[in-house]
């Protein structure tokens, strides 16, 4: 189908990424899932190939592509048959680094953004805490000014890339009396005294990705590590979340497409009651339903991406795309597993992993319920 957002260049990039995924990632994905950690060479290799900087300006080592180039990356990574790795890459390209590009000083861009786009520094994003996530105004991590330094205390959890990351784009309270007007962003290097990874978390799915619990204990960072404007962190992170949710929705839908294609191929060759499953109307209709749901979600993602790429800030559509993208991806994985029947419940078939991995899309980056809350607010409710 022609969505009239992808040019010949986008398709050429897509082809290249797909080849990379097939030849360099796929042979290892099974092992990385077992290890609960994908190899450290992946980020620098992707950086070397220019995949992490597709939509960044040439000045910072990027290819100077548009937003849809980033979309192509998310879609093709989603086809690597594991969810954790694409998620880790999305954190690098579309969550932890865009605030540096948007709000950072030239010095911060050189020190953090440029090496992150080369894959030489891994980035993570620290919003969620044991007692606050989407309720950003309630976060408890504190940064207190002390001369030329900020002193940070607090805990972060569910931090993707948190174990391997070289730095964190961190959200902290700088003025506890001002609610969401007292939040700021910081760039904190791994290795700064007082910043420790306390635990690598064990997850239901997305297992190849490392997820950390982090502790900041009297962690002192220089004043120039403040990212953007003091006390404007809430607005900055809300801006970041829009890109995060949109790319998350794109990845979820592309993953659903991949799961669907595999289920379709399986249903064509699996014979029951004397004929291939696809010849049974109940299965054919289920596949039709899956294809339709995916297409509907994709159309919403693309039309929203078109607005986002044009510089609009379509919070309502992004929240809807994230909501429907997450739900469709899990529903498609669930229907696919049902088509596989008993085999689908066995660890040796990939579909169980899609089922476990896709469950996160309804939680990460803001739950379904948070999306509904945002949408309801845009309706004046």
């Amino acid at each position: 189908m022609d969505y009239s957002i992808f040019t010949a260049e986008h398709e050429a990039v897509r082809k290249t990424i797909r080849k990379f995924v097939d030849t360099e990632l796929m042979p290892h994905t099974e092992q990385w899932e077992k290890d609960a950690y994908f190899a450290d060479w992946v980020f620098p290799r992707m950086g070397e190939l220019g995949f992490l900087s597709l939509r960044y300006p040439e000045k910072y080592g990027g290819a100077g592509g548009d937003y849809f180039m980033g979309l192509v990356l998310a879609e093709e990574m989603a086809r690597c048959c594991i969810g954790g790795l694409p998620m880790a890459v999305a954190v690098q390209t579309d969550m932890a680094t865009p605030p540096i590009m948007q709000f950072g000083t030239e010095e911060q861009k050189q020190k953090y953004l440029v090496p992150a786009l080369k894959g030489q520094k891994v980035a993570c994003l620290g919003i969620t805490e044991p007692n606050a996530g989407s309720d950003v105004a309630s976060i408890q991590t504190r940064a207190v000014r002390d001369g030329d330094y900020w002193v940070i205390n607090g805990r972060k959890t569910f931090i993707t890339n948190g174990v391997r990351a070289d730095f964190i784009t961190l959200v902290a309270k700088t003025n506890p009396d001002l609610g969401y007007n007292g939040v700021s962003l910081f760039l904190v290097d791994k290795g700064t005294p007082g910043f420790t990874v306390t635990r690598k978390l064990d997850k239901v799915g997305m297992r190849s990705s490392d997820t950390a619990e982090l502790l900041f204990e009297d962690c002192r960072v220089r004043a120039e590590n403040l990212l953007g404007v003091e006390n404007r962190g809430f607005h900055q992170i809300m801006w970041e979340l829009q890109g995060e949710r949109l790319i998350g929705a794109a990845g979820a839908v592309a993953g659903a497409q991949y799961t669907f294609e595999k289920a379709l191929a399986y249903a064509r060759q699996r014979v029951q009651f004397g004929k291939p499953l696809v010849k049974l109307q109940v299965i054919a209709h289920r596949l039709a339903e899956m294809a339709t749901e995916i297409e509907a979600a994709r159309q919403l993602v693309y039309s929203t991406a078109r607005k986002f790429a044009a510089g609009e800030y379509p919070v309502r559509e992004i929240s809807m795309a994230k909501l429907v993208g997450g739900q469709v991806s899990f529903r498609v994985a669930d229907m696919a597993l049902q088509i596989y029947g008993g085999y689908g419940y066995m660890m040796e078939y990939d579909v169980q992993r899609a089922w476990r991995d896709s469950r996160l899309y309804r939680i990460g980056g803001g739950t379904d319920e948070i999306m509904k809350e945002v949408i309801a607010k845009t309706m004046g409710l």
């Binding site: 010949a8 260049e9 050429a12 990039v13 082809k15 290249t16 080849k19 990379f20 190939l49 220019g50 995949f51 900087s53 597709l54 040439e58 290819a63 100077g64 592509g65």
Partner: protein
């Protein structure tokens, strides 16, 4: 060093071949790629250019869709492209080679590279015919290539080992798997490929017409391989089933 690389757009290796109602191979819904052997040739051309300096021109015969293969080569680092649109003309290997040779003879060239065969029709004739028309040497199925002092030293695999051949330039060299590992087109390269020159020619531009390239070989019909028959399960007790299996293998399948 002026290097010309012959490139063909082919069906993806994963493509499922189907015949249309006229019994011709249907291209609808099939994704197209650069012939993988030509990719080795492009890569080799780029490596030689990077070492010796010079220019790489990629050349293809085909409709507008063949542009994609050429753009890929440009994105990998080739400098310019020539695309000859054959229009309605039916091509065989003779016709394609005639067109390519004519297009190349309009260029300066020291070395011509191509895949040793295309993965679609697999005739492995075109590059050799180009060499013949241009009256220059050809070395086929090459897995190692060195260029030194106006000569090409090529290693090619034979049935029982390998041989090393030396030919004066200009020459045609055809690539076999193992010659190199083709690079990915770089992201910046893909963006820049659009701006690189692509010279589009018709047969008339080359001074050719249907008469001069009329195909000497015509495909009469195509047929797909027989689909594999379903297997047979022999029920019953093991000893009895084994006896029955042996009987069927002997009398029906006639393999023992």
């Amino acid at each position: 060093m002026k290097i010309a690389v012959l490139v063909k757009q082919t069906f993806d290796t994963e493509a499922k071949i189907i015949l249309d109602v006229n019994g011709k191979i249907s291209s609808s819904g099939v994704s197209l790629i650069m012939n993988p052997y030509d990719e080795f040739a492009v890569e080799e051309g780029l490596r030689i250019k990077e070492k010796e300096g010079g220019e790489v021109t990629v050349i293809s015969v085909g409709g507008q869709q063949a542009q994609d293969a050429l753009r890929q080569a440009l994105a990998m680092g080739a400098d310019k492209a020539v695309l000859v649109d054959q229009g309605e003309a039916e091509l065989d290997e003779y016709a394609t080679a005639t067109i390519l040779a004519k297009a190349i003879s309009d260029l300066e060239y020291d070395l011509i590279l191509g895949g040793f065969r295309a993965i679609d029709d697999g005739s492995a004739q075109v590059a050799g015919r180009v060499a013949e028309i241009l009256n220059i040497p050809v070395v086929n199925v090459v897995t190692g290539l060195e260029i030194e002092g106006g000569k090409a030293v090529a290693t090619r695999e034979t049935e029982s080992g390998s041989e090393v051949l030396e030919v004066p330039l200009p020459a045609v060299i055809t690539a076999q798997k193992g010659l190199n590992e083709p690079r990915y087109p770089s992201m910046k390269g893909i963006m820049k490929a659009k701006k690189k020159p692509m010279d589009k020619k018709t047969l008339a531009d080359l001074g050719l017409d249907d008469g001069k390239i009329s195909a000497k070989v015509k495909a009469l019909s195509f047929s797909l391989p027989e689909p594999r028959k379903a297997g047979k399960v022999i029920p019953g007790e093991a000893a009895e089933a084994a006896r029955e299996l042996a009987r069927l293998l002997r009398e029906e399948a006639k393999v023992i």
